[in-house]
């Protein structure tokens, strides 16, 4: 008898929910293809990063509590974003420093929380995906996914199985794109300089597509690419892995 399929709660993230539901459906497809039962709790809004990074601990804590309550019944929490996954896994426990039972629940949830490609590779050990993409792509490592969650090889290993796709590494793939949540609207001049560096690096690879696992970064870099008149297509890695690239790339009609 085979073990019961993993019961996965999808934390869709506020940006995917509001801006690009296609990423959420791509994640669902990848998880279901890998044999998971996927649920999407209705009581989710955001992981609380904006409040947390702005120093608003009280609101961050309240939102964290909401996420913990909504998701602790699942075997796993999967997130198509490294920074939201990092928020849950790395930062939630610290928000309940004076509250041992809640801190314990936060830690327990954190241990079962994964970024999407990390979950597919490291937990489910999905060897490859059934997808095709005609193009040459470069990958942007979102900072929190890379440094808090250890997401680096997983998306590349999965992309290697995509037919027709060539992957070219940018020299600055691991360098911040200048998004930084509210940073990019608080310090737009500095953010512009940083995202220009990222755009230059993307263009230097000669790739026609930019992929990444963090929608905030992708909106930022796509927005700058478009402003500079570039035709580089920008997509979330899940869209390509799921073979769901019929809709327009980010920022294109």
């Amino acid at each position: 008898m085979s073990p019961p399929p993993p019961n996965v709660g999808l934390f869709v993230t506020c940006l995917v929910d509001l801006m690009r539901p296609a990423v959420g459906f791509a994640a669902v497809k990848l998880l279901e293809d890998a044999g998971c039962v996927v649920s999407v709790p209705a009581a989710q809004t955001c992981c609380g990063q904006p409040a947390y990074n702005a120093g608003d601990q009280a609101d961050a804590r309240a939102i964290a509590r909401q996420v913990i309550v909504a998701f602790e019944g699942f075997d796993y929490v999967v997130v198509p974003s490294g920074s939201c996954a990092g928020m849950i896994r790395v930062h939630f426990p610290g928000l309940f420093a004076g509250d041992a039972p809640m801190a314990g629940r936060a830690r327990a949830l954190g241990e079962r929380t994964f970024e999407l490609t990390q979950f597919l590779r490291d937990v489910l050990q999905v060897p490859d995906v059934e997808a095709e993409y005609r193009g040459c792509a470069t990958y942007h490592d979102g900072c929190a996914g890379l440094r808090e969650m250890g997401v680096k090889e997983q998306p590349r290993q999965l992309l290697a199985a995509v037919r027709g796709l060539e992957l070219k590494e940018g020299e600055e793939a691991e360098t911040c794109c200048g998004f930084g949540g509210l940073f990019c609207v608080k310090y737009p001049d500095i953010s512009e300089r940083i995202v220009d560096g990222k755009v230059d690096d993307v263009l230097a690879t000669g790739a026609d597509t930019l992929l990444g696992g963090e929608l905030g970064c992708l909106l930022n870099v796509a927005g700058r690419l478009k402003r500079r008149g570039s035709g580089v297509r920008v997509r979330h890695v899940a869209e390509v892995l799921a073979g769901m690239t019929d809709g327009p790339p980010i920022g294109d009609p």
Binding site: C46, D56, D189, N220
Partner: protein
């Protein structure tokens, strides 16, 4: 030095528009980090050394009183003297008194960030004593009247043409039509000028990279040898150091040296690493007659045991500056005071008050690269968040961002209400943006659209579509 930290945004804009500065920052961004990576690749045990370095500093901070007293005792046994300074003003008066007692007219200095922190040069000058910086970069910024723009490369913001210009202006003793095209010519001229100061100086002042408790030794690293001439030629040697610089043993010092230069410049070890212990002993061929160590607190003991405790591990290597996307965009002067980059954004608010340095902890994407490269593993992003929390709780964050955040959080904490509000908003933006797929301009989104387009949302939220999908299932 007058802090301009309050003008961070204006400073940053100026820096972004300064093409010479941007060229210099591009050189730095590609230079130091690459050299650091190469140095680390040659040392397989580097990660273990970082742990060891962190542990040494943690141990010292747990037992700071013990090691400082032991250091004081050992310095005394070697014929030197330790002076305790609670703040910058006390440190300045102690140093001035030592200089005056020595009848000093000229004081040579090797680069010291603590010297910058207490603005000792201004104080000496105001009292008729001439301080001469002998580190080339520090000398350049001294004659230009600028603060350092980097922990270990104080004049990194300048091009050689700018340096040549400053030399022509300052060094009237040389022919006006001399060529200063070549870096070598600049170096030779500085050396000629500085050599005289070395010989004239009555007092030599250095900083300290470490203070060794078991021996009373002061460790100073340079790449120019200027600290050696500063401390061995004049009659009096004054060391100015902040008190967290103490380490237990020479072995510990060696461990820290192994991560210091690799992290900062990518060198295995700096060209000069000098251990000096007390004044000249009978029979010594050279060395100072008097040896003073001024130990500065200046708010550091208030960090012990608190949220910023681990910042006291910092060994001032500069790696976090070199790798920081913000520092690389605007350079050190934009930060407006002595310390810059991530370490400055954490430390400056302690030293001059968060109310004077409010932008510093906020001007960060929290990308985490600083913590990633820190040789003593200081959790800098966590500390930047700590300052933001202090500001938020002290109502120091801007009203607009506070109310905006509160309104958003109000919704985010009420999923049902949130759905009612975001659904129509997304639908409107989706409809408006469908034709082009993005917006060039949008009311209230000027911060975003000033420099980039805003990709349009699809028009329905994922959760609404998901509900529909579930309803469509048998």
């Amino acid at each position: 030095m007058e802090a301009t930290t309050r003008n961070f945004e204006r400073n940053a804009r100026k820096a972004l528009a300064d093409t010479k500065l941007q060229e210099a920052l591009a050189r730095l961004s590609h230079g130091f980090p690459a050299k650091r990576r190469q140095a680390i690749a040659r040392l397989p045990e580097f990660e273990a050394l970082r742990d060891a370095a962190r542990d040494i500093k943690n141990h010292v901070l747990e037992n700071l009183d013990f090691y400082l007293e032991r250091f004081e005792t050992r310095v005394g046994e070697r014929g030197g003297q330790v002076h305790w300074a609670r703040d910058a003003a006390e440190a300045r008066s102690v140093i001035l008194k030592i200089c005056q007692d020595a009848g000093a007219r000229t004081v040579t200095k090797s680069k010291s960030m603590v010297g910058e922190e207490i603005a000792i040069n201004d104080h000496l000058e105001a009292n008729g004593i001439t301080p001469v910086e002998t580190d080339l970069g520090e000398y350049i910024i001294q004659i230009r009247g600028e603060p350092p723009s980097h922990l270990i490369a104080p004049a990194i913001h300048l091009s050689k043409d700018q340096v040549a210009e400053s030399f022509k202006e300052k060094h009237g003793q040389f022919p006006k039509d001399r060529s200063l095209e070549e870096p070598r010519a600049l170096l030779d001229e500085a050396r000629t000028v500085l050599r005289e100061s070395f010989l004239e100086a009555d007092v030599g002042m250095t900083g300290a990279n470490m203070l060794v408790a078991e021996t009373g030794t002061v460790v100073v690293v340079t790449n120019e040898g200027n600290a050696d001439l500063t401390m061995s030629l004049p009659r009096v040697h004054i060391v100015i150091a902040s008190l967290e610089k103490v380490v237990p043993t020479l072995d510990d010092a060696a461990t820290l040296l192994r991560v210091l230069a690799r992290s900062g410049t990518g060198q295995e070890i700096t060209v000069y690493t000098t251990f000096s212990t007390g004044p000249r002993r009978p029979g010594d061929l050279d060395g100072p007659e008097a040896f003073h160590v001024v130990l500065l607190d200046n708010g550091r003991t208030t960090m012990l045991g608190g949220e910023l405790h681990e910042m006291l591990r910092c060994i001032r290597c500069g790696a976090c500056l070199n790798e920081c996307p913000i520092y690389r965009a605007v350079g050190g002067h934009a930060y407006g005071w002595v310390y810059s980059g991530p370490m400055g954004a954490v430390l400056t608010p302690v030293l001059i008050g968060i109310e004077h340095a409010g932008d510093l902890p906020n001007a960060s994407t929290l990308c985490g690269k600083c913590e990633d490269v820190c040789p003593v593993r200081i959790p800098l992003p966590r500390m930047l968040r700590h300052w933001r929390q202090r500001q938020f709780e002290g109502n120091q964050a801007s009203a607009a961002s506070r109310y905006g955040l509160k309104a958003w959080a109000f919704l985010a904490r009420r999923p049902a209400l949130y759905r009612l509000v975001v659904g129509p908003g997304v639908a409107v933006l989706g409809a408006l943006g469908r034709r082009r797929g993005r917006f060039r301009r949008l009311p209230l989104a000027g911060g975003w659209t000033a420099s980039r387009d805003l990709p349009a949302p699809e028009g329905r939220t994922f959760l609404a579509l998901w509900r529909k999908r579930l309803a469509g299932r048998p």
